[in-house]
Subunit: 245 residues, 4 copies
């Protein structure tokens, strides 16, 4: 019965014939007063809800404005279309990602286990907050080039940071750190989705386990509850990775 996903897809490509309105008010450049800001935020929030509920593609501009309790016309006052709004949300999310990357890159060499747990925790927390966006990550790929670029950049930075850390902290010699990094990010990201989908918990304990798995996976040794780090640990550890060879 006329599903018409068509128009959407199509539209983004086909039906954007007119440049952002000759001049006047390109949504970006609008000077906003208090009320305007509130409205815009309402739209952002509503979008998150809508994306979570129906997925990005299935979400209509109409769904968003309904949730935001505003009107169709208002939407276009702040965003030039759905994709524009998505982009705004993604920018926000990827910026936070940078914070997480710092957890690893700022870590003093060889503080391994705890950093990892912290990183896992940070990522998890981000995921939870942006679940609607991350959950549809895949849908987004192939949307428009700009979004793809955004995702790709963010991902590259993240895996690079992780790969660096792995290298520094001692990777097993049968695994390329950058492959390992991608694998870990993949796991972390998808794990949240699957676990949630299967109805399992994603709590502190689970994150501990996850950290242990990651630890072993990329370094070859188990994580350990905080505080139990044995003396000599730091020395012993990177060793196998480099000397075992």
């Amino acid at each position: 019965m006329g599903s018409t996903e068509a128009q959407r897809e199509a539209s983004s490509g086909r039906r954007k014939p007119k440049e952002p309105t000759p001049a006047a008010f390109p949504p970006e450049a609008r000077a906003m007063r208090e009320q305007g800001k509130r409205t815009m935020q309402r739209l952002r929030d509503a979008a998150m809800v809508a994306f979570e509920r129906r997925g990005y593609h299935a979400t209509r501009v109409n769904d968003i404005v309904e949730i935001a309790k505003t009107s169709h016309g208002t939407f276009y006052l702040y965003f030039s279309n759905k994709e524009d709004l998505l982009r705004a949300l993604l920018v926000e999310a990827t910026e936070e990602t940078r914070e997480i990357d710092k957890v690893l890159s700022d870590a003093p060499t060889g503080t391994g286990r705890d950093d990892l747990r912290a990183w896992v925790g940070a990522y998890s927390s981000l995921w939870m907050r942006y679940a609607p966006l991350l959950g549809i990550w895949t849908e987004l790929t192939g949307s428009d080039p700009e979004v793809t670029q955004l995702l790709s950049d963010s991902l590259r930075k993240m895996t690079a940071a992780l790969a660096g850390w792995i290298e520094v902290n001692g990777a097993p010699d049968d695994v390329d750190p950058s492959v390992a990094a991608v694998a870990v990010v993949a796991m972390l990201d998808r794990f949240h989705q699957l676990q949630t989908f299967l109805g399992g918990p994603v709590d502190g304990g689970t994150l501990d386990e996850l950290a242990a798995i990651v630890q072993r996976a990329v370094l070859g040794s188990p994580a350990r509850p905080p505080g139990t780090r044995p003396a000599g640990d730091r020395l012993a550890e990177p060793a196998p990775a480099s000397s075992a060879r």
Copy 2:
């Protein structure tokens, strides 16, 4: 300001959107001869091609029939819409998943490493074949209960099989096998996507690395090229991992 004076009224007109008309031709019960089967298969194949090319959402029924070199009407003779076709393909995919599970469950106890590599390879091959479907898999969840069920079942079976295998082959005691299983499946699934997205290779070597990672992650010891398994294997390598315990 306009908003107050425009008294909102529950419109008088309208009601339910009228269901799709009992589907004059429920493709359901169609008797099919050879020719019909061929056409149906052509449509399935065409759909895979189309989904691959432009993604599920952007694909129009029209694209599919064009590739299948048949007419619009014919499509609806075999599937009631694009989603229906997708569902059919997903069923096919999940059925193949069962085959993969056997790789682990049929493995004689303790043959660990090689089975794992075989399993990773099998999954990878499946993923490659059904990539266009697996990407959207998740977003269908929620919109279509039938698909949700399908996915959920398949996933549960898969993780159960893996968890069993982990248990038998010796899981580290700091990780619940079923959590580990979810993590591994998550990693495997998403890795393909990310790696592809980032433009990296997913070849035999990559799969070897992946297997090694998984091996260490869930068992605590590295995978190794077949036949090279040395006596005393476990002691040498993960030493930190095992001795630390």
Copy 3:
């Protein structure tokens, strides 16, 4: 002969026809301003014209919007489809039916003849106005429960009102008033249709005759031109039916 060798198989593909997509714009809850109301009314009016011209079934949504001088999309802003619009019109019609019932129920006891003529006239006028709808009324029954209910209710009220009036004004003892009421309504309704179909007139004179027929049918005495009501009328009347024999 072909039939045997062609083994019938329950097709594998396909399933439910997928519901209409939660109706992005359920015209339901639309807030309407003056302009909107006018447009909606224009559509209603146009529909009546179109239905009259070509009949409900042969009428395309397109015909309606053309008459209303508006666009396709606009139609769906106010009604979810042709049937929905029809329903709205029917509601209107049944509401007017209530008015007609009052002619009888408000009548002081025993004012018989004139009330009857008035009622016949009122019904006729209603019929004329809604002819295009009334013709299809019945065939909607069964396909649409809501319409069925509407019709059923309206009909029941109408026959109840008439039956009550018959009882009060003296029914012959060989006929159940409620059967008589159904018969009269049936006659009135169908008469217009047949008469029109046969090309005969339905004017004041015809209605006089109709009223006379009804009068005799349910009370047993002829109607009479207004003003000629003889004294003792009320007594004399039921009499012929029972005692005149």
Copy 4:
């Protein structure tokens, strides 16, 4: 969701560009063997069922062949389209109507009451048998001219026969016999429909009442249970109608 009644309506007018197939087998002229006749009858029966279930317009050729447990192609072997089949059924029904008319026209002058009851009974029985067709009578009007003609002829004959009978048996002078005839046929026809719709019975007793109503309506005197006809009846009867004035 694409109700597409369009095609049907339209089709009858638009999509019949090709003459009944150059020569070969105009469905009418087919010499049929036993099997063929059976199939054709199955199709007729199925059509009655289908029309009853969904109404004529809503019935798809597909519905019919499904009920008849035959194939699409076969249908067109016997009928050139749905309308053709309808016509065939109507011809059958209207022919029987002629029989009913005879009940009145063959009646010796002045045998009034019993003839009327017989006629009512005959009509009722016919209605019951052809309910699916008669119930959709209205839908049919305006279908194609041929069908309209068929209905119109039949109706005219029927009312003519009745009008003649009324005249002979003594109509009240305030009612034109032909108007009365239309009214009576209208009532009879619609009564069955409404009564059935409202869940009321249409049995012998009901028919007695109906006959009584008709009797009074057009002749001005009540019907009477058979056998109770008082002497002098015939004389007394038309009297009240004329003298009452």
